[in-house]
Symmetry: C2
Subunit: 225 residues, 2 copies
């Protein structure tokens, strides 16, 4: 097809825009208590939301970032609660280590089972994910019921997630589901309050896969010394 030829040269390259954005974020965020390993995740979430209140509300389990990086390097699957989260995950960096992004909410067996049991697809999809990948990375940005079901499965011993990124957004049960998540001693990234959503969860996953790629490169560098 004909795209036209009158393309103006780019005055600013995409990498420069990201660097400038990160500089502005660091200036406006000011002092904080996030660790050196947590900060790249916080920064990418603020970058994706332009919301410092949300950024400051983030809470990390002490092992969260290390565990997330390790899970990606081990090629564990990333389970998204909704298609938007699956769509936003940068696939190339995940596939490099043998991992993949999965979403079960539109699976035919999930839809049929939810209908038969009179329950939500989000709950059934979480059960399916935990049966297939109890040690996966769980990325939940939408349904509090999905997060609450995952917490129940963890307590039952049916799931041992590599990491839970639990940030459902909303006015009913979202904040409460995150309060429950923070009571568990498993690796999690979450936030306090109603905010969250697909964009925020995707930013966290993509920040972690960037860290995993960096760590893999550093290890290879180390091996050569």
């Amino acid at each position: 097809m004909d795209f036209g030829t009158d393309f103006e040269p780019l005055t600013v390259q995409p990498q420069e825009i990201e660097a400038l954005s990160f500089e502005l974020i660091a200036q406006e965020l000011g002092e904080h208590d996030f660790t050196e390993l947590q900060y790249p995740v916080v920064r990418r979430i603020i970058h994706a939301s332009a919301d410092f209140e949300l950024g400051r509300s983030l809470v990390f389990h002490p092992r969260a970032v290390e565990a997330g990086i390790a899970a990606i390097l081990e090629g564990r699957p990333i389970i998204a609660d909704v298609r938007m989260v699956e769509a936003g995950i940068s696939k190339a960096r995940i596939h490099r280590f043998g991992g993949e992004a999965r979403v079960h909410i539109t699976d035919e067996d999930v839809i049929a089972e939810a209908k038969e049991r009179g329950t939500t697809r989000a709950i059934v999809a979480m059960r399916k994910a935990c049966a297939e990948a109890p040690g996966g990375i769980y990325a939940i940005g939408n349904a509090p019921t999905a997060l609450l079901e995952l917490i129940r499965l963890v307590k039952e011993g049916a799931a041992r997630p590599g990491l839970v990124i639990g940030m459902p957004v909303g006015f009913v049960s979202a904040a409460e589901s995150k309060d429950e998540l923070r009571k568990l001693d498993i690796p999690y990234i979450t936030n306090i309050g109603r905010k969250g959503g697909s964009t925020v969860v995707v930013a966290a996953v993509n920040a972690l896969s960037l860290l995993a790629v960096q760590q893999a490169a550093e290890r290879r560098g180390g091996d050569c010394k």
Copy 2:
């Protein structure tokens, strides 16, 4: 597969959760200047973001909501800037009127052309969309460059969008691109400032398709009288 049988009955149905959320939003938002037709869009955006500041920052061209509903009823395509937006759009309500959701950012010809011209895929994807569907609904939540290119194409006369939902998020050029959009006399939904993103744009599209379905039902009801 075996989903287990110990499903607890749902104590609250999803429709009730939405109704309760909408009640909380109305209470907390309080007085506002949005019209009766704009409010369902505002409410769904606050529902999807839990962000009243963002909700209050929304700006509608006077014809925006009517034009968006009409464009959906006419089956015009909805062009998303990124895959996340495409993934979040409720397809059934769009397909009912012959429309569809499109995204060109990962098209092979777009990737090749951007590389050859030394420009961004977002710009090339917008040119392709305008060449194929100059009267489409444009839903831009990510790249300010995509919105700026669309504005340029509108000024050139190469595009006459049915509606532009322009809410790219970010620290560099996002707010400025929305300032430019508000100078046009074409139907737009946008906001003031840095916030926005895929979830917000998707909420606007889905609110409009719900209104379109309602309006179609009312018209059918009217025909029967």
